[in-house]
Point group: D3
Chain length 233, copies 6
Amino acid sequence: MTDDARIADVLSQVTTATITTILLKKGLRNVWLRGTRPLRPGQPRRVGRAFTLRFVPAREDLATPESWSSPKSTRAAIEAMPEGCIAVVDAMGVTDAGIFGDILCARMQKKGVAALVTDGVVRDLAGVLAAGLPVWCQGAAAPPSVAGLTFVNWQEPIACGGVAVYPDDLIVVDDDGAVLVPAALAEEVATLGPEQERFESWIMGEVQAGAALPGLYPPNAENKARYEAARRG
Amino acid sequence: MTDDARIADVLSQVTTATITTILLKKGLRNVWLRGTRPLRPGQPRRVGRAFTLRFVPAREDLATPESWSSPKSTRAAIEAMPEGCIAVVDAMGVTDAGIFGDILCARMQKKGVAALVTDGVVRDLAGVLAAGLPVWCQGAAAPPSVAGLTFVNWQEPIACGGVAVYPDDLIVVDDDGAVLVPAALAEEVATLGPEQERFESWIMGEVQAGAALPGLYPPNAENKARYEAARRG
Amino acid sequence: MTDDARIADVLSQVTTATITTILLKKGLRNVWLRGTRPLRPGQPRRVGRAFTLRFVPAREDLATPESWSSPKSTRAAIEAMPEGCIAVVDAMGVTDAGIFGDILCARMQKKGVAALVTDGVVRDLAGVLAAGLPVWCQGAAAPPSVAGLTFVNWQEPIACGGVAVYPDDLIVVDDDGAVLVPAALAEEVATLGPEQERFESWIMGEVQAGAALPGLYPPNAENKARYEAARRG
Amino acid sequence: MTDDARIADVLSQVTTATITTILLKKGLRNVWLRGTRPLRPGQPRRVGRAFTLRFVPAREDLATPESWSSPKSTRAAIEAMPEGCIAVVDAMGVTDAGIFGDILCARMQKKGVAALVTDGVVRDLAGVLAAGLPVWCQGAAAPPSVAGLTFVNWQEPIACGGVAVYPDDLIVVDDDGAVLVPAALAEEVATLGPEQERFESWIMGEVQAGAALPGLYPPNAENKARYEAARRG
Amino acid sequence: MTDDARIADVLSQVTTATITTILLKKGLRNVWLRGTRPLRPGQPRRVGRAFTLRFVPAREDLATPESWSSPKSTRAAIEAMPEGCIAVVDAMGVTDAGIFGDILCARMQKKGVAALVTDGVVRDLAGVLAAGLPVWCQGAAAPPSVAGLTFVNWQEPIACGGVAVYPDDLIVVDDDGAVLVPAALAEEVATLGPEQERFESWIMGEVQAGAALPGLYPPNAENKARYEAARRG
Amino acid sequence: MTDDARIADVLSQVTTATITTILLKKGLRNVWLRGTRPLRPGQPRRVGRAFTLRFVPAREDLATPESWSSPKSTRAAIEAMPEGCIAVVDAMGVTDAGIFGDILCARMQKKGVAALVTDGVVRDLAGVLAAGLPVWCQGAAAPPSVAGLTFVNWQEPIACGGVAVYPDDLIVVDDDGAVLVPAALAEEVATLGPEQERFESWIMGEVQAGAALPGLYPPNAENKARYEAARRG
């Protein structure tokens, strides 16, 4: 199993809520991509390296249906995506032009892209849902991307939902949205995450049994000892 | 079959995504009404002539429960709506006062109004859903319209979701929201739309069969020829 | 039955739409808490006294995981909540840091809190839904509260969704969101509400039977008389 | 002197701050037009009847340079403005297309228009300032109105800065912006305004002499008596 | 000279730009109060302890002219302000109701308040400017505070411009706006600030003499040595 | 004189208002950079080729004072700027972190940069004004860029104020803000601009002489003939 596969495997058991708590303790407060909600409720948690795409605003002389044939097109970007990556698209938060529709999403699904994440929207909602690709975005809009956006390039640093995303940063998506794990911290998060989940699970058991919160969450010395005892089992 | 009925019949098979692409090619980039989402997932695609209503902000001396009896009331506007029209309401994007509740929506449903479209919200969500009228809007709020809006008139040019809507423009609504087709372009969109849908359907088949996007979508000469051959079938 | 129980019992039959109409007639236009949508569709209508919590923005020297152990923590606030109250949380409309996750919501549920209302968001959506506490909010975000917020105190006057909420004001929540009834007006709203619901129900029957709106809603003298006759039945 | 001239004469001595206080006491809280700042510091206070103009969003098939020759053009609207009126323009708060430039403002100045008020912006700032017409707006932008707006009509009810303005309502503008006085309340405001100004002037004298605020502003019985004595002087 | 006087004296020579750089190096990124611009260009730099005031939204039953006589009024808060403090007002960013007008500002000036800082606006701009109190805010609006705000209390933790302000934190205001220095860091900032200003002044001299930036700002070892030499010089 | 020098010379006599009108007639509606106001009133009109810089949001592990020494720093970008260019900075509209302060602006001024244009803000306002570089931006903020932004690269396509700017597009700035002229259209705008200015100047003369607008602006056949006669004059 490669390092990436192992980390992805571990993190697929860790919530984005837990990951953001771990990153905050390391001084990283701005890692959650605003406006990236699951397009369909209950989409599975996914983990992958970021493959970035970047748009700038539409300009009538540049953002045309003809531009779809350019070598710097979204089509070419999709063909460059490796299996298992998560496509992260900087749409500058534009919600009135859909970055991709059913055909492009179907092609990404064919290529084994793990998920599409954007601070913009998709178009042809019914078609995108039918294509089967898990999508995190702000919703749907009918107009094509060129009605509001000009595609620029792929695998550059981007802004997405107010977060800086660099190619090959790790992305984790679940019901709470999408979070970024800087590439350099992936190993550490994969180590701390499962332990944090175990600990919170024990806390939840205590709460369900009627325990009050002060002294429990976060735990005082007594509860720390009780948890350690329970853990050693 | 009247022209309107024929156009409606044809366009009920064309997605709003396809319609916006066709209109963009004719130079119209601003035809999708922002903030008009289906109130209930899976509402059927609808096509109709716009019947416009216009609000301005509330003024305590004008926007009162008493105003509901005025000859320029929303009640009078609803009685003037012809069967099959789509009511399009300029609520200036206000989301904290519901333009209509269950009773007004039930009356519109009785009169055969095809759909209600607004950049504002409705109130009494449970009641509106029970009334059965398909609604595209920004959601729901409890307060009555007079808490934030003063009704002015009907069948005037309006702004709705950042788009100019004139009485009798054509409106098409589906999962992606609501789009405007200027009255003068309805015939042409009804001609081009189904062909575009056929073409995209062929592309999707190619993608599902594993084809890459460059040269396919948009098609190069070879793929154009293949499509023409398939079409003549 | 206490006064509170009686009022809650009556108001659990009155929609927030009706309550806002009654309050508007008394000159109160700003009682609907913006951005407080049901977290899960179909949550039951709830009525309770407001138990308020207040956040200010995060400051790196104050909003830390360590602050969770402070005597002025959200944990202590939750322990102070009486059974049947509705927790109303001023998160200043912040949507990129979740005020509470699964553990805190589970504890509130254990303590018999009737509902959680906030103009912010929760975190760990799956966990919060599993905890069973009915929540009205703007959605979910992964980051912990300290990523964007500093907790200050409880049972102070707060702003929530653009509305002033004082401790012990009455809160009613349903599909349309959350509305405030000033404590001094609770009795009167509980008197007027059911009658208004009965009246609107009669109107709806008329509309379903094909009646036009002018003269009916609001009613002219003739329809008032018909309603009175029907009511005396 | 006509009623209008007399009222204008009186109100030209009353601040918009005082006028809004008087209107609030009559239950009108929403009379200040948001986003209408003086274009040049120190523009004189002006009073006049509202002459309204209305825009909707741009549509490429409607908002064209050719539309400037239409009978429903801004040019025709300007020719219809009576001397002494205040032009109030509903630009829907659009700040990236200037409603008028130097030529149209110069023509309004020639026709004796007292002021231009809009929730949008002007264009060709240097030229507009040179034209001499006092303007209250959100600032300046280079693009012509048709880049973002379609002109519809004049002397209709409009929204301007979140306030409902009807033709012939009274408008007062000064350093604090623009306020609306409903036509029906003009006489009363003209009566109460000067007295309020006198009273506040006396208060200010007391404050300058070192008086504390509680009991003074608003005055208790003792200070009311002192003011009455001073007034009778 | 008290500690406070000494710190104020030192910091009155340090720009808010320099202070924010120092605080960022200590991990504090969110200390600049958004929307607090000088009301009059060229107001002097001021330093003082925060005296906080807090508003919540207006409620028609609470925010009335009568409330101005309440013991919890803005008037009472002003009388409690110590000489040399900086009044910091949480107006929740509301820009359509002025928190204070000429009379209240004149009283604050009389009491020796060093400055007024708010994320809201003032009213009666001409009168406030005449009162002489230096003000940092978002601008001016005619309506009284009760048109949009309810005053709650003073000397509580508040939010102002997206920053958490606690009573007795240090506030510094200049042309760039208002910044907060946590009370616990005041001494350290007063130590580091003047040295940073001296250093940047030396850099500016180098730039004016034609030096390129890389290696100079931030300095490499050579330039560090040159600066040290110049400083001892 | 080079082509660039000649075009710049011609366009320095043409307002940005006129340029946007010419571009709109060619189908380009989105060329005015929103939020780019002159920092100091009365800054001279400037014309130059765009030299672009791009920021993404701050990340605590990337946006540090140490990053100022990186080879991909703003310092290196400034050293790469050619004389006469206009620096156009994509700050994503962020207004709470200043992209540049006095030292960087002084260096740009030394290097002969014609102007700085950004949709963000500068810091150390007094210092920037003293540096003498003409700046178009949204205002000032005290915090350093790393408090909110991470610098990425220069001479890439960027978004600035909602407009797509490519390296070497032409930028013109005046009192109305900043407009983009696509490189391919520069020659044509330089040809049409002066003629349009002459024509509008003649119109203004007519208006000053008392002419009504309809038939004059835009001109009917008679007025076109009169203008042609005057022009040949």
